[in-house]
Symmetry: C2
C-alpha cells in the first residue's frame, strides 16, 4: 500500500493471519466459505473497514476469491499439468492430434475468439524470427477454454512468405494444427525454446481470462525452430496462473 | 475487492488507466517517479482517497512500486535468465562450479541463511523421493542473493541413509555443491524434472525476498534422479517473480 504503516492499526493483520492459519491447517478447506465482513465485525469487535481490509489482504494474496453476490471462498487449486517437452513431441501433432489434447486429455476443451490477420511484423517479432525490416507476418490470436473456463490467450506469428495461401492463414488449420501444416511445407518444427515470466495481469487479460483478484499470469514465449535452426513461429501465451502447473524434464 | 462495484465511483479507474497508458507508451519509463497523491488530487480535482485508490490499483498490478519515504516508481524489470537444462548440465557441477554461477555469470552472488538439519521426511517428500514411511532426510535451507538483493529461497531434501556423514550434511558442501557430492557417492544426478507454479507470496516469503506489493512468486519444484531413476533430491525453490526469466529448450 502507498500509505505508511503507522496509519493502519495492526488488528486487520491479526485477523488476516488467523484466517491464513485456518487455511494452512486445513480448518478452512478448498472451496469453503470464509467468514464475511459482518461475521468478522462480531467475532473481533472491529469496524467494517477493518474487517474489509483483513479480507482484502487475503484476496490480494490469492488465498481467497470473492464471488459476487455470494461470499468469499478459499481458492480451489486444481491446476492443469502442462508437460513442456511431451506435449510438443512430433508424435502428437505429426499424427493429427492437437497439442492442447496432450494437456486436456478427455476433458472438454475448445478454442474461441480466433482472429487471423496479415500484418507488418512488430519489432520484437522481427528479432525473434530473424526477419528482414518491413517483413510481414501471419498473426493468429485465439483463446483456449477447458470445460468452459478460459485458461490461456495465445498469439502466434509466422513469416508470411513461408505460409501465405496455406491453411495456416485460415481459421481452421486442420488436423495437427500449425505444426502439422509447417511439416507439410517442409518446415517441421524440430526444436523449441520456451521462456517463462510471471506478472500481474492487465485489465484486458483479467477480463478475457476471467481472473479474480490476486491471480498472477504466466507469460510463455515459445520459438519453434526447424532442423536447420530457422525460426518458423513465435507464440506469445498468457496463462491463468492459478490454472497451470508447467513441467519440464531434461538430462544432466 | 470484496465490495460491490457501485460503491466506488469509477474515477479512480480512469486515473489508473491514464497512468497505465503513460507507462505502456513509455511516457513514464522504467524507474520514473509517478505522480503522488497530492499531484493526482490537484490534477484530477479528486479526494485523497480516490488518488490513493488509483495508485493502489497500479501497485497491486505490479506496474509501480512504492518506496517508503520517497514515492512511487515505475517498476524496473531486468530479470535474471535462468536456463533450466544448461545450468544443470554435468559439465558445470562436474567441474566444481556452482549451478548459481551459470545464472549469475560474473555478478556478485552469495548464499546466506543456510540451515542444515536432519528430520523425519514430510509426507510430500516421502512421495517425491519414494521413501519408506518414517524415513529421515537431510534438509538444507538457504537463500540466494545477487548483488545483495534476495532472489530465491530454497529447501532441499535428500535421503539421510544416502548422505549421512558426508559434506552434504555440512554448511559448506564444497566445490560443485550437492550434485558433485552425490556424484562422489556414486549417485550422480542424470535426469531432472522441474514443476513450475505461480502464486502470490505469503508474508514470510515477502519479508525474506523483500517483495513489494503486486509481486508474485514462482515455485520451482525440482526432482533429481540418478541414471537408474532413483530420486536423490527434492528441491523446493521460491523465486522473486519480478527477478527471473526461466528458459527451457527441448526437441520436437
Amino acid at each position: 500500500m502507498p500509505t505508511s504503516e503507522n496509519e493502519s492499526p495492526p488488528v486487520y493483520r491479526e485477523i488476516a493471519e488467523a484466517l491464513r492459519s485456518a487455511i494452512a491447517s486445513g480448518e478452512l478447506a478448498d472451496g469453503d466459505r470464509v467468514p464475511g465482513e459482518n461475521e468478522l465485525m462480531r467475532q473481533y469487535s472491529v469496524a467494517r473497514a477493518t474487517a474489509r481490509q483483513a479480507l482484502s489482504v487475503l484476496i490480494n494474496e490469492g488465498l481467497v476469491v470473492p464471488i459476487r453476490g455470494s461470499g468469499i471462498y478459499v481458492r480451489t487449486f486444481r491446476p492443469l499439468r502442462r508437460h513442456g517437452p511431451r506435449r510438443l513431441s512430433r508424435e502428437l501433432w505429426g499424427t493429427g492430434r492437437s497439442i492442447w489434447q496432450a494437456d486436456a486429455a478427455d476433458r472438454g476443451f475448445e478454442t474461441d475468439n480466433i482472429e487471423v490477420s496479415e500484418d507488418p511484423a512488430p519489432e520484437h517479432v522481427i528479432r525473434a524470427l530473424g526477419l528482414a525490416e518491413g517483413a510481414r507476418v501471419v498473426r493468429r490470436r485465439r483463446r483456449y477454454r477447458l470445460d468452459g473456463r478460459p485458461m490461456q490467450l495465445a498469439t502466434s506469428y509466422l513469416p508470411l512468405d513461408l505460409v501465405a495461401g496455406t491453411p495456416i492463414t485460415r481459421v481452421d488449420t486442420g488436423p495437427g494444427g500449425i505444426y502439422a501444416r509447417l511439416a507439410d511445407l517442409g518446415h517441421a518444427p524440430a526444436h523449441f525454446t520456451e521462456e517463462i515470466r510471471v506478472r500481474m495481469p492487465n485489465p484486458v487479460e483479467a477480463r478475457d481470462l476471467r481472473l479474480t483478484a490476486g491471480t498472477p499470469v504466466l507469460e510463455v514465449l515459445r520459438t519453434a525452430l526447424t532442423d536447420d535452426h530457422r525460426a518458423v513461429e513465435l507464440n506469445e501465451m498468457t496463462l491463468d496462473g492459478s490454472a497451470y502447473v508447467l513441467q519440464y524434464d531434461f538430462d544432466a
